[in-house]
Each structure stands twice: as C-alpha cells, then as structure tokens.
C-alpha cells in the first residue's frame, strides 16, 4: 500500500490510497507466493484443507474442540448452517428442513445455546436463540419493514447475547438475555458498529466500527465505556476475534492490497500477517486450543475452509 497525493477528481489534492498493481510486487514476494502452493503463509506448520466443494462459505465458529459450524451458500438462493467434525471432516446440516437463509451462528461456551440469524420475509431477518437442551427457540423479531440483526455472540457465562442492530440511521450494539429480554444498548455513537464479542474473561468487548470514517477495530468495557481503538488503516479492518486466552486478536484486513488474515496483541500492538495470497483470506476463528485458526480462503475462484496453525 502506498499513500500518495495526486490531482483528485474531488476538487482538491487530498490523499488517496493506491492498491499496488501486481506488476509492482517484488520478485521475492512472487517467488514466496509461488513456492507456497496453497498460498497461505503460516507462522507454524502447514494449513489443512477442510472442505473441497468450493462453495462460498462464511462465519466458521467452533462448537467445541472437535466440531465447528459454518455458513454454506448451498444454493444461489439459500445459505445454510453446516456442522463439521474435524476428526473425519464429515459434514451435516445443523438444522434439517430449512428453506430460508440462516447465517452468522454462535454458541454459548457450554454448547447449550445456539444463536443465529434467519431470513423470515422480504429483507426481514430475525435473531433465533435456540436452547438445544430444551429444544426450544426464542425469537427476537426485527422491527417493521426491511430490518434485520447482525453478528450475534454469547457472553462468557452464556447468559447474554450481544449483537448489532440498525435503527434511527445508526447501527449500534445491544445485548439481551437468552430469553431475548432485557435489551441493553452498549454503543451510542455515529457510524456502524459490528462483530461484537467478549474477551474470554468477560472484561472487554471487541468490535468493529466505522465511527471514525472507515472500518476499524476497537474494544470497550461491558457497559460500553472506555473505548480503545486498536487499528488505524485507511482500508477495512474486519471481523476481529479474541484468542481463547484473550491475549491476541485475529482479524481480516485489505490494508496490503487484498483481504488477508492478521494477528495483533490485545492492545493492538505486534501486528502480523498470517496469510499471503492474491485471493481472499477471511473469516478467521480460533480453535479452542488457541494454536490454530480456521479461515475461509478463496483459491482459484472457489471458497473452502482451511485450518491454519499459528504460534
């Protein structure tokens, strides 16, 4: 990435950001990409490919150390949730007989609750909190008209769900209990706020926001106070996730020209790039052991899950 000043179409010499064309990349970098056949530079070990169908996938999350759930674009008009066993890579539908888009799943730490989003009408998306033990759904219905929730996840004690919701021209963060009651607003700030998740000790909430003009990553305390900005890039910094020990954060950024997965310390320091490929690497999620990430990698125009070791 290079910053430059050039004559702008916007009427003044304002800074713009240039994505380096491939032809400008250094030969050494190209060689590195070529040598690493899978194209993923890991900090330790080699990546393991988990799926082979190439369909578009999103939002993998671990249910436990042996199983993960992800969103699969099963048909052009249908996203479903798939559950995979890491031991044999077997995959089954998480919910049978679904004919509406389901996406953005998350699980309570004890695995009792699953929260996900479900399209229920024209541009209308509800939040579903499913109690697997009681086999019972609690729905948080969207507002009227075109409306929907985003990015739900659980508190470490499994008692609350935090999520993103847009109303009154803002997209703020909220939480409810597992009965979808007792709504609390966590942010009151301009811009759009996304991807809230608790640190493992429950003391911080990690999230993304456009409050400063573009997509950056922040933390705050559970009351929505003491906001700290962790990233500062003119491009997109997306989908942050705390490591299981809470010391590191994985996220996606296109700051180097295309979408790659990065790591940083909990305070935003020690930035490191995990992947390096001309196609997209995205949706990092931590294995509960804390030494591997599952990511969605685009390779040759197809999208599959990879398990990437990181030390």
């Amino acid at each position: 990435m290079r910053r430059r000043r050039q004559r702008s179409e916007f009427g003044k010499n304002q800074p713009t950001v240039e994505l380096r064309p491939r032809s400008d990349l250094r030969i050494g970098f190209l060689c590195l990409v070529f040598v690493l056949a899978l194209g993923t530079v890991t900090l330790a070990g080699e990546p393991r490919r988990l799926t082979n169908d190439g369909r578009r996938k999103r939002t993998p999350v671990f249910v436990n150390s042996e199983e993960l759930v992800y969103v699969d674009l099963e048909k052009p008009e249908l996203t479903t949730l798939k559950r995979m066993k890491l031991s044999n890579l077997s995959v089954r539908s998480l919910h049978a007989k679904t004919n509406a888009q389901e996406f953005e799943p998350a699980f309570s730490p004890d695995g009792r609750f699953c929260v996900f989003l479900k399209a229920i009408g024209t541009l209308s998306v509800t939040l579903v909190i499913r109690d697997e033990r009681e086999n019972k759904d609690v729905l948080l219905p969207p507002g009227g008209g075109f409306c929907g929730f985003r990015n739900p996840s659980f508190s470490p004690d499994g008692k609350r769900v935090i999520y993103s919701y847009a109303e009154n021209n803002l997209q703020d963060l909220y939480s409810v209990n597992t009965q979808a009651m007792d709504r609390r607003q966590l942010t009151r700030k301009s811009g759009m706020n996304y991807w809230p998740s608790f640190s493992p000790d429950g003391k911080r909430i990690l999230f993304g926001s456009t409050r400063d003009g573009n997509y950056e990553i922040y933390t705050m305390n559970p009351k929505g106070q003491d906001v700290r900005r962790l990233t500062d890039s003119p491009f997109q910094d997306l989908r942050p996730r705390f490591s299981p020990d809470g010391k590191r954060i994985a996220f996606t950024s296109n700051r180097d020209g295309n979408f790659e997965v990065y790591l940083m310390e909990e305070n935003g320091s020690s930035l490191r790039r995990v992947t390096n490929h001309p196609e997209r690497d995205d949706y990092p999620t931590w294995h509960p052991g804390g030494k591997q990430l599952v990511i969605v990698s685009e390779r040759d125009g197809s999208h599959d899950l990879y398990l990437v070791p990181v030390e």
Partner: protein, 445 residues
Amino acid sequence: MFDVGRFVANSCSGMTRRSFLRVGASVPLALGMSNLATVASAAENRRAKSVLFIFLWGAPSHLDMCDPKPDAPAEYRSPFAVIPTRTAGVHFTELLPQLAQRSHLYTLVRSHVTTAPGHPDAGTVALTGFEETPKPVKPNFGSIVAKHRGRRGSLPPFMSIAKGVVMDGARRIEGYGGGTLGSPYDPFMVGCSELGEAEIPALKLLDGLVPNRIQDRRILLNQLDNVPRALQSRGFEDWSRTYQTAYGLLMDPKARSAFDLTRETRKTRATYGQSVFGQSALLARRLMEAEVPYIQLNFSRHVEAITPGFEFGWDTHIYNFDLLQDLLCPIFDRAFAALLDDLNERGLLKDNLVVCMGEFGRTPKINNRASRDHWPACYFSMWAGAGIEPGRVIGQSDRLGEHPLTDPISPKMVGTTITELGGIDTQVRAEMNVLEGGRVIEGLI
C-alpha cells in the same frame, strides 16, 4: 455441460416423439424466416455484432462503487476507502479493485437518471426505455435487435441468462421481452450454475440428459423412448416456439457447444470465479463468440438481497455495506474483470458491445437501517467495445451523488445508443416503431 433437466410440456397429436423431434429440428423457424430481408440490410452500419447487456438487477449503490464522494457529510459518505483507477483522476471505492485496474478497457457513465422509483417499473424502463404504463409495454432492447437481425443458425437472436424471467418478488418484469413486437421476440432463457452447468428451462424434459449423453442423434432418440407417455396426450399445436428453438439447439452440435463450459480450461473457468454470475459471464462470452446478436446477462433473477427463496440481488435496503463488501462486489469485481480481460485478449471488444448497469442507484443519504434505498435520480453504467473509446468518464454527478451535473442520460438514450451501435439507425427504428424520440448518448459514440 448443459442440463436440459425435466420438461412438463406435451406434444404430438398423431406424431411420434421421434418424428416430433425431427420436425423440431427441421421446422423453418418463423423468427428467422420473417426477417431475412431485414437481415440483409442490417450489417452495413453495425459496429457491434453482439451486444452483451449485463443487468445488475436490484440496483447497485453508485456511491459505494463507481462514484464515491469522500468529501460528503458522514450521513452520506461511504465507509469504503477511495482508490485510484487506471484512468487519471478517476476513483472507485476499494470494493472494485480489479475493475479499477481495468478502467482503460471501458468508459464509465455517471449521470444516469430514470423515471421510476420502484423495481418492477424501473426494470421495465431500464430494459425498454419506457415505463410499463400506458400499455402496451414496449420491447426490450434485445427484442429490437433480435427482430432486426433475425436468426442465423440454431442459436436464438436474443438470449437472457438467468433461471427464468427477472422478478421483483413474485412479479416478473414486464419489459423482459418482445412487448409491442410480440412474443416471438421474447428472450430465450438459459440458466447457469456456479459450476458452469448451463440449463435450458424450456427443455426440462428428460432427466439427466446432458450434452455428453447426446453426442449423437441416436442417443438422444433413445432418451426420448423413455419420455412418459403423457408426451403424446396433448396436441402438437401446444408446442411453443420456445421448445422448437430449444430442440433446434440440441440437435446442432455447434450451437450446443456454445453452452458447454467444459470446453474452457480450468484456469479460465477459475478466473471468472465459482459463482452463478461468474460462470454465467463466461457463458455470455461463449454466446458472444457464437455471434448471438443480443445477450442479457442478469446478475440475479430476483432483486431481493436476503429473502427466503430468492437469490442475492442488489436490492440492499438492509445490510448494504455488508453485502457489498462480502458478497456482491467480490463476485462482480472478479467476474466482470475476468470477462473484460477475456474479451480484450480474444479481440472480441473490437466489434462487440458490453453494457453494464442496474435499473437505478441507491440513496446517497444512509437510511434508517444504516443502508441505502432506491435512488432513480443518479446512477452509473459501464460501456466497452464496439469502437467506444475506453478509459473515459462521461457525465458527472453533484457533490453528494444525488443528481447529474451534466446532461442526464435516460434509459431510452441507453437503448438508442445500443441499437445504433447494433446497426439500427434512426430510420430503421422509425420503421420498427421503437425507441421513439430517443437519442444517442452524446460523447459516447
């Protein structure tokens, strides 16, 4: 490969299924026969052998893609970074990095306006140049080209790539087809899967009948022996022109091969991406090579972005920024860039036309749901090939992207320009009674 799938229509009063097929393959197609005279006079002024109209159905956001306004107030401004294109002084957002690098291959128009604020009517306006009412509905630009050119060989002169007529909810867009020119000039529909399997809805007759199983006529006829007896229970007159066309395609190896994406290298198919739009774009290129006069490539069949049973279209009243960032723009940027490269490398941009646009733009001011609604007062298009000088921007929007500062460009002007480049000049349009009062986009050609 292409999959003819399951077929529910019936046939043959006193005619065997085999003989029907023979008829189907040999019937002089009325569409072509009626236009031979016109065809003969068409070629002289034509700069585009084929027109590829890429319809971004649902309406993409101009501010978040090709017409960013980084100096606008926060309630308008896109959260996406601005990047330079290859055209000096012209910028896109970071959502279209590959198209930004290929701005030397097309000309961008930033001053479109339309008259209709809703999808069904605006869809008709975008495809015909006129509103749905007063009736009758005017013809699709493709139908005009189809009537003028007529048919040569087995391939229809107007093909639309989607799994059916484009829809808004349960309502199909009235301007999808022949309109006042009549149903003979409706598009011939062909679908395409994310794996590049072409599907002809009109031929949903034979389970599992795919090209590698119909390499010769005997195999096809054997397949027909398995067609349910119901095929003979209804009159032959029920067979529509569509089915005759479809079977004509089946019986013509050259025409059939146009649908067979397995003839492309794995690398080429990968470059377009494993998506319905990506592989459909590759199919469109093959149809262009086969000199189909007009191809309408629909990004999706439905406008709705997240709705049960519908594909993900560009109608982003909610999740606008998320869908653009994570789904719509990555698919579009990759596939359209691949298509432009492919057409350029094969020399197909020289004498074919590519037009890419939606039916309107999206509200410059961010809405109540932190997204963008319909905005008919300003939107964009991209034009490549057919002698259009590339690497330019025509038209300019105001500082918020709300209105054109320059001459507003209407859908009728789009249709007039397309048909002009297709060899249908003012006199011919008048004789056909189409695009009345239309004028070409000044500066584009």
